[in-house]
């Protein structure tokens, strides 16, 4: 293929959240896609390429947002991308069943004066809700080509692409409809454009004028650098508008923009049949019901965890057997000398550890998570759990990473990105690192559940949740900043697009492997080295003032806790190895009280190494280190206090 002859195009996908943008993205790019982060940001960036009619087309899927202001990082990134990178065309994906709110965003895209086409998606849902849309009329009102699509079934996608290319080939549109604001506002915009039009800036003058009147922080800052006079003039004009209307200027502009969106929507759509409650509607009422909603939630969570643990346990065992079945083969190839020992015990066992967690537990977890997200159930869970999370200064959405944390803390930490502010991401991440993951569950069930009875394991779980709640509340009081409230759309229930779910899962798992594997492998190599050089016993001795004197545990626990940093359940596995028995009840000095203390310490004493890596990635070294040190200190205090209290009672 002669690459020089191919023409390159850049297409950006933009639109509200949950309108089927990523489904369209998947249809367009197939397997040729790459998901990373925006440079220096923790906002996801999905890119892909496709070849069409002799073009090589790069497609960027911008984050799902409701506005182009400075409310979130996603909004800033999106508008800057469109203004600076100047894609050849923006495909604005619009939810036909909520036309008015989606057009509010469309109008803002138009203000960026970018070439665009509209993918009027979820036409089937609109039809079910009794909404009929006159495509031609909509095209005429907006001055933008509109293509109806049903992305989930692949309907209209090819035509959408054709229309996009056609629009690009036709060249820039001369006359395009614009959101016309009220007279007073338009007059002020006109005045500002006069001053701004000679300023070199990547945003178009009219956009800058509107945003200055709205008091947009980023644009004010940029313009102030060029000419502070412009900003103060804009402020004066904004005040005039406020005096006329009795509302802040940004309120006036937003209202008027919505009015325009509403007018267009009403003119282009017709409500046909009287809306009778659809199946989705009934499902919504049931899943958010004050009693049934919680019952369904509890049942779903139990079902999810039960099936994941059953599946995970079985598959994990199968994979371990498979890998360890290769050990003799390996030993005959590399010998059982120090080198062979290091490679097997250090590197290969590290990989095995990673694989036996990642595949059996994390993959099903993500599949279910994305299935629930795409269907719309996650937003209902957030609605139901908002009140509880609020006590920790977080809102309902934070329940989702917490839920993930019960499977594995690593995806949970990464999942905290759904929170709006950096502060809330940190708070949520802190809480999730305390949540007992699958590995902790192995300890709780394998030690306390096995030897003291399942009721004590449940008591420990409850205690654990209470502690998490208390610490979460404490963190919320200590970390400065304002907490935000829930503002979330609950889109209509729909059947998820399986391919999109699987693809999202795949990218997440790849991310997990990238973050966790290197550290797990290095960690196990270091431990193996320590073992080979006989450093474990001295370390245990060094730790004995804490483990023996303060926590009242056998000295070898020090060694097992070191291994637990790698994977928490190794604390139990190593204990069995070092003691040479799995019947822990027979071990002298390791009675019921010690078992409880040990389990409590093991649950909290440190986020495992992979979780620390995830924390570093999301929040930097300092915060990751702080959380780690805090949890070590906390677990030591907790264990000691628990020991003394329990000895008092028994």
């Amino acid at each position: 293929m002669n690459k020089k002859k191919q023409k390159k195009l850049l297409i950006a996908l933009a639109g509200n959240a949950n309108v089927g943008k990523s489904v369209i993205f998947n249809h367009l790019t197939g397997l040729h896609q790459h998901i990373g982060n925006w440079p220096g940001k923790t906002v996801e960036r999905a890119e892909g390429t496709l070849h069409f009619r002799g073009y090589t087309i790069d497609i960027v899927d911008l984050p799902g947002i409701y506005s182009l202001s400075t409310y979130s990082l996603e909004e800033l990134i999106s508008r800057k991308y469109i203004a600076v990178e100047r894609p050849d065309i923006v495909i604005n994906v619009v939810d036909a069943s909520v036309l008015e709110r989606n057009l509010f965003f469309t109008l803002q895209l138009m203000e960026l004066e970018t070439p665009m086409v509209i993918a009027l998606n979820q036409m089937d849902m609109a039809k079910r809700k009794g909404i009929q849309i006159d495509i031609e009329k909509l095209e005429k009102l907006l001055g933008i080509p509109v293509m109806p699509t049903v992305a989930i079934k692949g309907v209209g996608i090819a035509k959408l692409l054709e229309k996009a290319i056609e629009t690009i080939e036709k060249g820039p549109v001369k006359k395009r409809a614009q959101a016309r604001y009220g007279e007073e506002v338009e007059e002020k915009i006109g005045k500002l454009i006069e001053i701004i039009k000679n300023v070199q800036f990547f945003y178009p003058p009219r956009y800058v004028a509107i945003k200055l009147l709205e008091g947009d922080e980023e644009i004010e800052r940029e313009i102030r650098r060029i000419d502070p006079q412009i900003v103060s003039t804009a402020k004066k004009l904004a005040d005039e508008i406020e005096n006329i209307h009795g509302h802040a200027c940004s309120t006036v502009i937003t209202s008027e923009r919505y009015e325009v969106a509403g007018c267009i929507a009403r003119a282009a759509q017709k409500l046909v049949s009287p809306i009778k409650p659809t199946l989705g509607e009934r499902l919504h009422n049931l899943t958010t019901h004050k009693i049934m909603g919680y019952a369904i939630l509890a049942f779903s969570l139990l079902l999810i965890f039960y099936s994941i643990f059953t599946f995970g346990d079985y598959t994990s065992g199968l994979l371990s057997d498979l890998f360890y079945g290769l050990e003799p083969l390996f030993a005959s190839a590399f010998g059982t000398g120090i080198v062979g020992n290091l490679i097997w015990g250090g590197i290969i066992e590290g990989i095995i550890a990673g694989v036996t967690i990642a595949l059996p537990y994390i993959i099903p977890f993500y599949v279910i998570l994305y299935f629930l997200e795409d269907s719309g159930y996650l937003s209902r869970i957030a609605f139901l759990m908002d009140k509880v999370m609020h006590k920790m200064g977080l809102h309902g959405k934070a329940f989702i990473p917490v839920m993930l944390g019960f499977g594995c803390n690593v995806p949970a930490c990464l999942g905290c990105r759904i929170m709006e502010t950096q502060r809330e991401r940190l708070l949520a991440a802190f809480v999730t690192t305390l949540v007992p993951c699958a590995a902790c569950t192995v300890i709780i069930l394998g030690l306390v559940g096995e030897f003291l009875g399942i009721q004590w394991a449940l008591v420990l779980y409850v205690v654990d949740l209470l502690i998490i709640f208390a610490l979460g509340r404490l963190a919320f009081k200590v970390v400065p900043g304002e907490s935000t409230a829930l503002i979330m759309e609950m889109h209509d229930y729909r059947w998820p697009h399986l391919k999109t779910v699987l693809k999202q899962t795949w990218f997440r798992v790849a991310e997990f492997i990238k973050i966790a594997f290197p550290l797990i492998i290095v960690g196990s190599l270091v431990l193996k080295l320590a073992e080979v050089f006989g450093l474990l016993e001295p370390i245990a001795t060094v730790l004995s003032p804490i483990t023996v004197t303060w926590l009242g545990l056998p000295a070898i626990i020090g060694i097992t806790l070191i291994f637990g940093v790698l994977r928490k359940e190794l604390t139990l596995v190593m204990l069995a190895t070092l003691l040479g028995t799995t019947n822990f009840a027979e071990v002298p000095g390791f009675g019921p009280v010690q078992m409880v203390v040990f389990t409590l310490v093991a649950m909290f004493y440190i986020p495992c190494i992979a979780t620390i890596a995830a924390l570093v990635k999301e929040f930097g070294w300092k915060k990751a280190l702080f959380i780690t040190v805090f949890e070590i200190a906390f677990a030591i205090v907790l264990g000691g206090v628990a020991l003394r209290l329990l000895t008092l009672v028994t």
């Binding site: 409701y66 506005s67 202001s69 400075t70 409310y71 069943s97 909520v98 036309l99 008015e100 709110r101 509010f104 008091g215 922080e217 904004a238 006329i244 209307h245 009795g246 509302h247 802040a248 200027c249 940004s250 309120t251 006036v252 937003t254 209202s255 919505y258 509403g262 919504h284 958010t288 004050k290 937003s379 957030a382 609605f383 139901l384 908002d386 009140k387 609020h390 809102h395 309902g396 935000t484 409230a485 829930l486 503002i487 979330m488 759309e489 609950m490 889109h491 209509d492």
Partner: protein, 89 residues
């Protein structure tokens, strides 16, 4: 929108019972010039003059479920307390 001084009965959105509707009059307690969460609420369609229906609220003073501009939103109670509406008769 030039009706700030008229004597109407304005109540916070949280005062509406399930099934009741009202018209947004103002959003109070925003930061600075209405940026931050006030701005976010308006971007989601809760601009003055908009009709809002409260569908229900989650138990124990949880968030509200509202209908606005044809879409369904979940709104934390703290946020809903700052939205003032005029109840429809």
């Amino acid at each position: 929108m030039k009706r700030r001084n008229s004597k109407r009965h304005e109540v916070p959105l949280t005062a509406l019972r399930a099934g009741e509707a009202g018209t947004v009059t103002s959003i109070r307690g925003g930061h600075g010039r209405g940026w931050g969460f006030g701005k976010r609420l308006m971007d989601m369609g809760l601009t003055p003059g908009t009709r809002v229906t409260v569908v229900k609220s989650a138990p124990f003073h949880g968030p509200l479920e509202i209908l606005v501009r044809g879409s369904r939103l979940a709104l934390g109670r703290g946020m809903a307390e700052r939205i003032f509406v005029e109840i429809e008769k």
